[in-house]
């Protein structure tokens, strides 16, 4: 696909209007970068390099900085996510309370490493460095809902119910 065609298809994209709107609210200033990346993540579900380039150009921010910010925060993902997402907290409290065992279980049962999505596009595994819910350690976010005191068993229960469309 030539660059020009890609640009026009971007322009017609309704999701892009959300991104443009965010940038406009902040006067297309460089400091709007994080807010804009939030808008990209929320309307597209991930941030690809074309969009990073678009945002960098519009806000006048260096490309490498956009990439740096997009990879620094765990909230942003560079690849499309599966139907369901699990965010495992690997902050100190969760890690020592058993987040590692849960991650190992993901690797064993679903062949999933952090940042990956299953081949059938059903499940994505992500990690976060502290959700701020240390009292619930180990905490996991199932499709945006925080669940506390998880074990490998409770996690696979939830996932199996997802797969059976019970949830």
């Amino acid at each position: 696909m030539s660059k020009e065609i890609k640009q026009t298809s971007l322009k017609e994209d309704r999701r892009l209007r959300m991104v443009d709107r965010t940038m406009r609210i902040y006067g297309n200033e460089p400091h709007a970068l994080i807010e804009t990346l939030h808008a990209v993540q929320e309307s597209y579900g991930f941030i690809d390099t074309d969009l990073m380039q678009y945002v960098a150009e519009k806000l006048g921010v260096p490309l490498s900085k956009v990439y740096g910010v997009a990879t620094f925060y765990h909230f942003f993902t560079l690849k499309p996510q599966g139907e369901h997402t699990c965010v495992v907290c690997t902050g100190t409290a969760c890690y020592i309370s058993g987040a590692k065992a849960i991650m190992d279980d993901f690797a064993k049962k679903y062949d999933l490493l952090p940042g990956e999505t299953t081949k059938d596009n059903k499940l994505s595994l992500l990690t976060a460095r502290c959700l701020g819910a240390c009292g619930l350690a180990p905490a996991i976010v199932f499709d945006g809902v925080v669940a506390g005191k998880q074990t490998p068993e409770t996690v696979s229960n939830t996932i199996e119910r997802w797969f059976k469309n019970e949830l």
Partner: protein
């Protein structure tokens, strides 16, 4: 109007010294020939405070503070070296060595490397931590330069030189923690970068053999960075 800075007096390692209120402990120490080891600091670039090699003790402060980002104060009492500080510095150095693949005997910067020099100077004889030996890529796509991530210590000098002096901001650091890496544009190959001016400043500010010129063999890469303070002064005056 230019801000008038006051003269302050303080004690560094028992020696009474004076400096301007907008100077850091490191600057005043340098002016008075007091040695404080540094790695990410480079004259002509902004202070970063990332490597923590320049940590010093200040009387009355509970923690060690980096000398490069701590401004002097009237009556301050600074200790630049003690057993505690020395041990911390050795640990930091040892951890830097374990994080990537620093193999001096096969390095173009052997003999001219700041990491190596620091290790020699501080007497780092062995590393107690297990080495990680990560598989890091080498980017040799640029016509004149090579980026070898195996030898990078993430000091951020190249990023600052590119942003602050050259003004291109081609390089930045991606990720966080152990996954951090210096990138070119959108993690593209250096050779195809549209923002890089090939000025070579990043290469010459790099303390190790991570950024080097092509065509150099083992121990042949000597960095020239005398231009930096001059260049900064000239650009500030524009």
């Amino acid at each position: 109007m230019k801000k008038v800075s006051q003269i302050q007096t303080l004690i560094i390692d028992g020696k009474e010294v004076g400096g301007k209120s907008d100077e850091s402990i490191l600057q005043v120490a340098k002016e008075n020939d007091i040695f404080i080891p540094t790695l990410c600091y480079l004259e002509g670039l902004s202070d970063y405070g990332g490597c923590r090699m320049c940590i010093v003790e200040v009387k009355g402060m509970p923690r060690l503070v980096p000398a490069c980002t701590t401004l002097i104060r009237e009556g301050m009492e600074v200790t630049t070296n003690s057993e505690k500080i020395h041990n911390y510095r050795l640990s930091i150095l040892a951890l830097l060595f374990t994080e990537r693949n620093h193999i001096c005997s096969a390095c173009v910067s052997n003999g001219h490397c700041e990491l190596q020099t620091l290790a020699l100077k501080l007497g780092l004889t062995h590393v107690e931590f297990p080495y990680i030996f990560p598989k890091m890529p080498v980017d040799a796509t640029h016509d004149r330069f090579i980026a070898d991530h195996n030898r990078c210590v993430l000091c951020g000098r190249c990023v600052r030189a590119c942003h602050e002096v050259e003004g291109a901001h081609t390089k930045d650091i991606m990720g966080r923690g152990i996954t951090s890496r210096v990138i070119t544009d959108l993690k593209e190959s250096w050779g195809s970068s549209k923002t890089c001016t090939s000025c070579g400043k990043c290469v010459h500010v790099c303390p190790t053999g991570a950024l080097t010129e092509k065509g150099k063999s083992v121990a042949e890469m000597e960095k020239r960075r005398q231009f930096l303070p001059y260049l900064k002064l000239m650009r500030e005056r524009r």
